[in-house]
Symmetry: D2
Subunit: 336 residues, 4 copies
């Protein structure tokens, strides 16, 4: 029996991110490996592997004409957290090819980061240090005029996908009311997850802490307009964690700057943000430069999930750890 061919084309993921010695050894035990790092694999290489390949790890472009030439292909493991636009999802689905994304591997890191941002906004952890170093004498309750608790706070999640599912168990011990708005999910499903489904208006107006976790779709880009953002509960803590495009970004920053709400921002419409960009000087915002998900622990989890799911797929079993593309939804998601 011939061994299955596994093709790696993970750019822009680097060799270091997805291909440490242990991973390489484990994959090589499962099949023959062809790999290309440092750039998108050249067309000639892709053409050469198509007739044999069983599993593709990476973001290789896979329009229908390529899928037609890959009769053994069982799975495509996108090691980024998105859905690439140049893959024919419907055709892959029709052929029974699993298309998978590594988004779940990023979720724990983003969830703990978002919780830390929320606690910093509510309790002033990041500003306390600056104040202390500047000689501020506010101490105890005298320094806590703006402090509010996470315990018992009303919490809102806009979007309940990988990030929301990772964040929910971290928030549960704080005991507050938990609402979710996600137009792709039924009320019954959200209740079965222990949350209260709600409409967008209520979510914005009633949350003390508001996590913006939705992906961008062709439908919701810019959906949180200035007018919507103005309905956010005054002084709420708002964490923009998923994609900048879901808010009217400059309006969001300007409302935060005015003190309308407290904001933490990890994602931007343009990344990297140029060093002298005016965003960098907006006051009253807790900034980070897309640091929530991309850490070594997340890549270790990508490697673990990838190994698990290659093994499942080669046994003819469904993958379990990475996220499966929903054929109708993948096309709606905007990528970059």
């Amino acid at each position: 029996m011939t061994r299955p061919l596994i093709f790696l084309d993970p750019f822009p993921r680097t060799e270091a991110m997805v291909w440490d010695d242990a991973t390489r050894a484990a994959v090589e035990e499962m099949g023959e490996v062809t790999a290309h790092f440092g750039s998108r694999a050249p067309d000639a290489l892709v053409e050469r592997i198509l007739p044999e390949v069983s599993v593709i790890v990476g973001q290789t472009a896979l329009p229908k004409e390529r899928l037609d030439r890959a009769p053994n292909l069982r799975a495509v493991l996108n090691v980024k957290a998105n859905w690439e636009p140049d893959l024919d999802y419907a055709e892959a689905h029709a052929r029974g090819i699993w298309v998978l994304s590594a988004a779940p591997a990023m979720a724990p890191a983003v969830a703990e980061f978002a919780l830390g941002q929320a606690l910093s906004l509510l309790r002033g952890i990041h500003t306390a240090d600056t104040r202390f170093r500047s000689g501020d004498m506010g101490i105890g309750i005298g320094g806590n005029a703006a402090a509010r608790p996470l315990f018992g706070a009303e919490i809102g999640l806009l979007g309940y996908g990988n990030l929301g599912r990772a964040l929910l168990p971290l928030l549960s011990p704080f005991g507050g009311r938990l609402r979710i708005h996600d137009p792709w999910l039924s009320d019954g499903y959200l209740r079965s997850q222990g949350a209260e489904p709600t409409d967008l208006g209520t979510l914005l107006a009633q949350s003390d802490v508001l996590f913006l976790l939705a992906g961008v779709t062709t439908e919701n880009a810019g959906g949180l307009t200035r007018a919507r953002l103005e309905t956010i509960r005054p002084d709420a803590a708002v964490i923009l964690a998923s994609r900048a495009e879901i808010v009217e970004f400059d309006a969001f920053l300007s409302l935060a700057a005015e003190g309308r709400f407290r904001a933490a921002v990890d994602v931007f419409p343009e990344e990297p943000v140029p060093p002298d960009h005016p965003w960098r000087q907006i006051p009253n915002v807790l900034f980070s430069h897309h640091l929530a998900g991309g850490m070594e622990a997340s890549y270790a989890l990508i490697r673990e999930m990838m190994l698990d799911d290659i093994a499942q797929v080669l046994k003819g079993l469904p993958p379990l750890r990475m996220q499966r593309a929903e054929p109708r939804l993948a096309g709606l998601m905007r990528s970059r």
Copy 2:
């Protein structure tokens, strides 16, 4: 039947902290109230209430000779989080007088603050903002060289009292190994709480995240000497949350400044810290000025617990929410 006399002497707690309208109304329904705010109640006033008083709310000095003159006294509710030195604990215990502290009301606020500090130290949340504003171009994994996850981290708690019990459920969802060292608690008890009991040496050497939560006693003051602190796991995140006196403070700051470990410090040997004190300029420490516990939400919880326990005591039932003095231990705790 005469109504019981309830005496309030909460200084340094202010009237606003413990005596809002709802609290006053609820207490006045339970008995006659005599109150003194703004300073320690004068001796003459104390002498006058002793023969009748059933419940004292506050830190009134209560040596044996005063207890001798208070035949109806059932409970003393210290609305601070400590054990006052000028109360005769053994005598109160012998007379069946409950002596209670409001420490449990502070614990949720301190626990969530400490979790936020830990996440900031591990994930660089507070430094990310400074770096972003300064034009730093590190983004994603390129900006996360020092980032480490809380998910899966080995966690150590030094001391497992009110703070530890409030913090444990917040840490559980992160799934890491959890060790506790507390010389006052048996191994069997710690295991029954879902934690792994351990000795101090292992705790310091094996924790990725180390929460210092012990109270100060006549036995452990300064117990974490420089030599001990040097055995902390390199690059661990260390949160000093309870009392500065449990560490050799200057050694602690200097090891943190050298990058030996990451540190968050909320408590100081001298408070308030003078505005120009050199501590305020130590690098590599996340400072706050005793902000972890003293917020409005904590005082609201004090009021709630106080009301609950006054009602219990006046019904002849044991108090449930505030912490009971352990007669042999209260004397060991250092107060201020």
Copy 3:
């Protein structure tokens, strides 16, 4: 815009089970309804609805030639808990038609029943009543020679599908070691669920309480042979909850009758069991007549899940509550 056609053909489910007034009203709001109860829908009726139908609720036979004539079909909601053999899963999948089963709606009922069986076996709850009525004088520890605790017991699950996922949270508070054997699931996945993956031999030999929850496949039918069953830990409590075919049934009963282990049996190779069948007199077994899942509460949950998922599908969104057929696995599952 024309309203979608929803076709009901739920036999052997009755009208009462799936079509109460509230459900009917809700479905009729979502589309035009054609329904047939009391028998499998006649071919002529099926042929008539195929050209228009969007959603089929039931077990209508759907070979490729019928799917070819159903261009608008988006989903088939099997309201039984199995995968029907006369549906072309691969073709349905290729066409992007969701094929769903109501198995998850049965899982809570089965899980709580299985927990109750385990507690009865371990603690002798069902035998206590008989003994008491017969005048037995064993009381307290004098009557508990055979009693063993669930708290701290080593627990094994054979199979981790809908039943296992519903049962796990009920077992967690008992704090014992939890092992799972499921050849379709990777070790990494099982660990991510908080369980310890294990091989079949260890599972049988080391479990104090063993839940048999696997479905029957063409591969595992009769897999628990007498030889295998003899390796079960002596005096273990064994709950046969999913399908009788996964064990060598008469050997299983005979080992239980000999006291080799304690057994609870809810499923049989032949159902209903004839009234005078010798199985009914086997001693030392806690019998029930396929009562674990089929209760009114389960049908209420089927109706709720069905409504939720019809709504999702008609909005072009993925279903969330019912179970999706895995095209490669559905064919392996034996049905009846």
Copy 4:
């Protein structure tokens, strides 16, 4: 330094229950041991040990005159689950002597038994076996007319002491509304435990599953009169788990016999119940003969808790595992 004297007088607990080899070895390492088994220790022996004894394990009568002669006594560990009437609780308290009961060691066993009883009552697990053996042909929903789910049921606890605290985490995963009535506990405390405080009338009328867990006091004996019992929600499952004296016992059985509610009974006003007592033939009740707590696993836990707390007390630290007598309440509890 002389080693402390530890005195064992555990009757009616037997030597086997409290004094296995490991326990004996561990206690002998902590001090000198004098032990008497098989009967209450003779007065002469008690008199002899009083002047030196540090710890008494058992139910030795300890009126004030004996306490006066026991200057070193630090703790009395009652290894039963009650409060003995012939101990002077107030005097022991005044002297700073811990008086402890082993009730918490019984709680896990009772809680899991009560959960099993509830599941049997709701789902008919114990009757299913009898029906099956008798040739009954009811299968699936056809045999489940009386079955009701625990998932989502409204649950009521009468009394929230050791039993309630052990039971609550077992019930939480079922997700139903949870109410508690306990006149000794404040509403705020019950809410802090995640339950809803309620009055007795609401508890009886609104619970689908009702756990009777209260101890008997001089105040509540017979408190659940026939009139009260008639207000129980029709067809509720009622588990009498703590003490028979809290209900009007014959009325309770007779209402259950009439089918007014479903009942499980483990405790009786007279124990052991004579073999031919008419109680033993009451229909529609799930009986057991005081089997809920007294099993080997409970005695193992008593030994573990006892060892832990002897060690704590001999170090001058508060006990942690056994229950402390509340001096005012212990006197209210009826014992036998």
